[in-house]
Symmetry: C2
Subunit: 259 residues, 2 copies
């Protein structure tokens, strides 16, 4: 669970407050639907392990619009909406920490830095959606596929799930095609091209990316949209005096853990 907070430095008191929240662990199996579009959510989820996707209904079938991986706060938006606007479904066994909304709200009120961190997290989410809009709207099939694989690899590495360019991606080709706005057949053929070019290897659901720099260049993948390293510019929701001290000390934490 600490993975989540690792993303941005937190003052120790706030971290403790967050960890002390009344939370429960929930587990789901490989195709379970975790929550439904239009349902009223009363708790929000943080992913501990497993793969899940967001889906929206359109044209009569479910379309995937994003993936959730370990470390993601996967439906913080439900905090402010009365109904979910996307469903969540598990693609592998998934374990989540779930916290009731009122507790999150309460801790946000008490912990301004934490509130900022959570807000920040939802904004990273939004940035990912922006990039998907471009990916799906402006790149052709082969580059789309590559871009998605690169994104997932990058996020998994940032989350500490893998250190190399090899990772398990337990999602069927039909689902990946849906996520990319491609037909299954065309997705498969585009993937075959990447394989023939030597950029991608697969065995079962395990994907390996080869020659990543060349692939990134070829598909225009630029990881800055994931905002992985960006520490908030100002002590979040906090003004100068104590805020400055807080972030200074906590930045040390981060750099020492990454060194």
């Amino acid at each position: 669970m600490r993975k989540l907070e690792q993303r941005a430095p937190l003052p120790p008191a706030e971290r403790a407050a967050f960890l002390a929240l009344p939370a429960s662990i929930e587990t789901f199996g490989a195709r379970d639907r975790i929550s439904e579009e239009n349902s009223a959510a009363r708790r929000c989820f943080f992913v501990l392990s497993g793969f899940l996707s967001r889906q929206k209904r359109a044209n009569g079938s479910q379309q995937i619009i994003g993936f959730g991986i370990p470390g993601d706060a996967v439906d913080l938006q439900s905090l402010w909406f009365d109904r979910l606007d996307n469903a969540l479904v598990a693609h592998s066994p998934v374990t989540l920490v779930s916290v009731a909304h009122e507790h999150v709200i309460d801790v946000c009120r008490r912990c301004p830095v934490l509130a900022g961190t959570l807000w920040h997290d939802t904004l990273v989410d939004a940035a990912i959606f922006r990039e998907w809009t471009i990916n799906v709207g402006h790149r052709r099939a082969r580059a789309r596929v590559a871009h998605l694989l690169l994104e997932v690899a990058t996020r998994l590495q940032a989350a500490g799930v893998t250190r190399t360019d090899t990772f398990e991606f337990p999602v069927t080709q039909a689902d990946l095609a849906s996520a990319l706005g491609l037909s299954l057949v065309h997705f498969n053929k585009s993937l075959a091209i990447l394989r023939n070019e030597g950029f991608v290897e697969t065995s079962g659901r395990v994907v390996t990316i080869r020659n990543r720099p060349a692939l990134e260049a070829a598909t225009g993948f630029d990881p800055t949209y994931l905002h992985l390293s960006a520490p908030p510019k100002l002590g979040p929701l906090v003004t100068t005096k104590e805020g400055a001290a807080d972030t200074a000390e906590s930045r040390q934490d981060v750099s020492s853990s990454s060194a």
Copy 2:
């Protein structure tokens, strides 16, 4: 400027605090670039009037990924990122209110309900991006075009810019095509189809939607993703006691205005 806060009820004290922020008005001409991708933003913008778009660089040219209309808080995400990940460009004369980040942060710290409102606003933004992902990825050209027009019409109505299904949309077809991931030619032909079907009329940059219910049904447009009426479930960033009173009274406001 009050338009912005109208979206969600605010306690009077917080509204006053927000209105009292040191802000400056900035104006831009029809093709001005308001801010650049990768620049470090120090202030954020609220749109008073005019049309603008977000753009990201991809494949060597600028791609439009969203529009900003009066009442939008157009780059709140810059609050938490050190660099903007999209550019903003004006499509008509635009007037903005700009507020320095530190003041926004400061007022957020003092005004929990307001902070929640702003956060909520960024989440609505994200919801719009999700819908765009679907629009661009899973609908075909004619429906894509229609969906965009319906979205803009709906948002303009919610912002009080127009009351009818006629509105000025000062964006060239080339830009609209880019926003939809279509070529200019194909966009034009799809629009021609909608015109022939009697759903859309244009004269200059003024668009009129005809027989809106049928068009919405035909393109699968469902405005709930815009989260226009949703009042936050809990007193935002505020717990029970005073918060309950606040939301009770403000919910009345909302229901009476919709009745």
